[in-house]
Amino acid sequence: MNRRWIATQLAAILALSGLLPIVGLGALGVAILRRRSEAAAQESLRALAEQASERVRVYLTQQRETLRMIAANLASDAQAVTRLEEIRLDAPSLGPLRMVDPGAPPEKLPPKLTPAQVKSAAEGKEVASSVYLGKDLTPAMDVCLPARGVVKGAICTSLDLLELQRLVQRIHIGEEGYAVALDQSGRLLAAGAPQLRAAVLTGERSAESALVEKSRGGGALPGTFDGGLGVQVVAGWARLDELDWIVVVEQPTSEALAGARAARHYFYIALLVALIISLGVGIWQ
């Protein structure tokens, strides 16, 4: 054992004893940074999901207000049916509007509402179905309102919710983030990621479907999980109770936490450089 060897060992001990606390503190800092970045990403995604939900809610409210206005102004004159038929020319988001007698046979009733619901509408209560995919493959919702100007009748239509699908599809976060809308059973209703849109049409389940289904009893929805595209995502969720919809905005972890990841890499590089310099100086001395 010569002097040089002893000097090297001493230098290594000194370098490591100096660096170990730095490593510990640095690692802790990086972990905190990652956790904060993740929380911040989740929070901003949740805010986006809530914004989207709010826009959906406003849109839906407007549609129903339009319908209420039509129902309130409906008269029982001979032209009423003609006017009702032509409303869809100006309000394309409303399906065919018709006056429905609660005693009409089921085939004359809106497809997703029961005779009891239509009766209830005729008696003064607004009723609506859950969201379903219509014949033209766009989401729809059947709504019936009391037609106050008409004795014993309800005014019914299918709201065309294509606008909502459009709204969800057009949410893009960064390069790879997207939004998905699901109903309470976990069925996909709209998806920003093109790869998930086939499931909207076929009713196939996605990773998000399983999470929504699991949360039905009131369970929390996770902030990170393996998303429908098979990569880990950071996510923000928002519920839209009027529609029984859930909107989730997702961003791959690799993109959402790119800042924290870069900080960790820089820290490791700095640590390595410091170690090399300490050892070098120790050996040289």
Binding site: L89, Q195, R197, V200
Partner: protein, 393 residues
């Protein structure tokens, strides 16, 4: 899917026939005749044409296309006669009376071989059942489509889902509303072009006098009607800058055949454009609508009409089996112009004594794989240009 035999009945088979069977000529984007099985074609007046066969043209069994095979193929249902004059083949439609190019266009040349029909096109049917067909290119061309699998998919939903999953390279028809689904889907792109069929309002001459029909032509705001019924998915065919109020009179009913939602909207918009004179909107199943059209028992009738090529259009205004002239309507000037395939003359005669009002020419949309280069909607057959498409990386 019906048999791909040159006289197919179902949409998918009709689309595929353009790749297996060739007509003498097709039309280009400007409605000019372009020789296909002919090497050269010349019109000799409205009823006659002469052409030479493309040298080396063969059926898919490699037997040559001859005057006799052409005659036996076309004489079945073409209605025009063929004769030889030196190197030229003469096509004469004098007896039927319609424009010869309109008669030639839909006639695909075929040859019976046992219980199947052979064509002269670049593809050959190698197998077919009720839902599938397999077509192969007769002679491979580097960079171009070599094999086509046709799959008749029962629902739009399944077809769109399969396209989104990347299982289909072409989805021939897609509704404009459904295009939203394919936004940002980079592996697919939308191609579109004007349909040869336009949308029109036929005016029942049995119920409406010439003055009333003229008043309707001048009183209905076509621009507004088109925008209300179709939005921006239907090209303008021109319209009067100003409209005049409709004179008072009885209420007018509008028939909208149950073709699709667009025709229902056109019917609704038409009734509204009639203002106080708008009567009932009658939504009729196709069979009943057809019967009403034949009987002429209607006021206004929202219906499709072949707008191009112009020769096809003129067939609709000649007396005959394919005439769309409303019963009770007579317009010697229009018939004369139609007889001579004089488009400007026809439009002038229609404007003076209208049997119908043109609304617009809808677009047709197709989804294709983004790797297919040069893909475009054909001027006549929806995918007639497919054999020329190139497969990129």
């Amino acid at each position: 899917m019906s048999a791909i035999d040159g006289r197919a009945q179902t949409t998918l088979a009709v689309i595929a026939e353009d790749w297996v069977f060739e007509p003498i000529a097709r039309i280009d984007d400007n409605d000019a005749l372009v020789p296909v099985l002919a090497s050269v074609i010349e019109l000799d007046g409205p009823h006659r044409a002469r052409f030479k066969l493309r040298p080396g043209a063969t059926f898919s069994d490699e037997s040559p296309v001859t005057f006799e095979s052409l005659k036996s193929s076309l004489d079945e249902s073409a209605g025009f006669s063929l004769s030889m004059s030196g190197e030229w083949i003469l096509a004469d439609n004098e007896k039927q009376g319609g424009p010869i190019d309109a008669a030639l266009l839909p006639m695909q040349v075929r040859k019976k071989d046992g219980n199947r029909f052979l064509g002269t096109g670049p593809f050959v049917v190698v197998g077919q059942d009720d839902r599938h067909a397999l077509l192969k290119r007769r002679v491979s061309v580097p960079g171009k489509i070599d094999q086509i699998e046709l799959d008749s998919i029962p629902t739009n939903r399944e077809a769109m889902a399969r396209a989104l999953r990347g299982e289909l390279q072409v989805l021939p028809r897609i509704e404009p509303r459904n295009l939203e689904f394919f936004e940002h889907v980079t592996k697919l792109r939308v191609i579109h072009g004007a349909s040869p069929q336009g949308a029109a309002l036929f005016l029942g001459a049995k119920r409406l006098s010439a003055e009333e029909r003229l008043a309707l032509l001048q009183g209905i705001d076509i621009k507004e009607l088109r925008n209300t019924a179709y939005g921006d998915t239907c090209a303008s065919l021109g319209h009067a800058a100003e409209t005049r109020p409709l004179p008072p009179g009885r209420k007018l009913d509008v028939i909208a055949p149950e073709i699709d939602d667009d025709f229902l909207r056109l019917g609704l918009a038409t009734r509204r454009s009639l203002g106080m004179r708008g009567g009932q909107l009658l939504r009729l199943p196709l069979e009943q609508a057809f019967a009403a059209m034949k009987s002429g028992d209607y006021d206004l009738f929202a219906a499709p009409i072949l707008m191009r090529p112009q020769s096809m259009f003129s067939v609709a205004f000649r007396q005959g089996p394919r005439s769309l002239l409303p019963p009770g309507y007579a317009n010697a000037e229009l018939e004369r112009a139609a007889e001579n395939n004089d488009h400007a003359g026809m439009m002038k005669a229609i404007e003076a004594d209208p049997p119908l009002i043109f609304v617009c020419q809808p677009e047709r949309y197709t989804l294709v794989d983004s790797r297919l280069k040069g893909a475009r909607v054909g001027p006549w057959g929806l995918l007639e240009t497919l054999p020329n498409w190139e497969v990129g990386e």
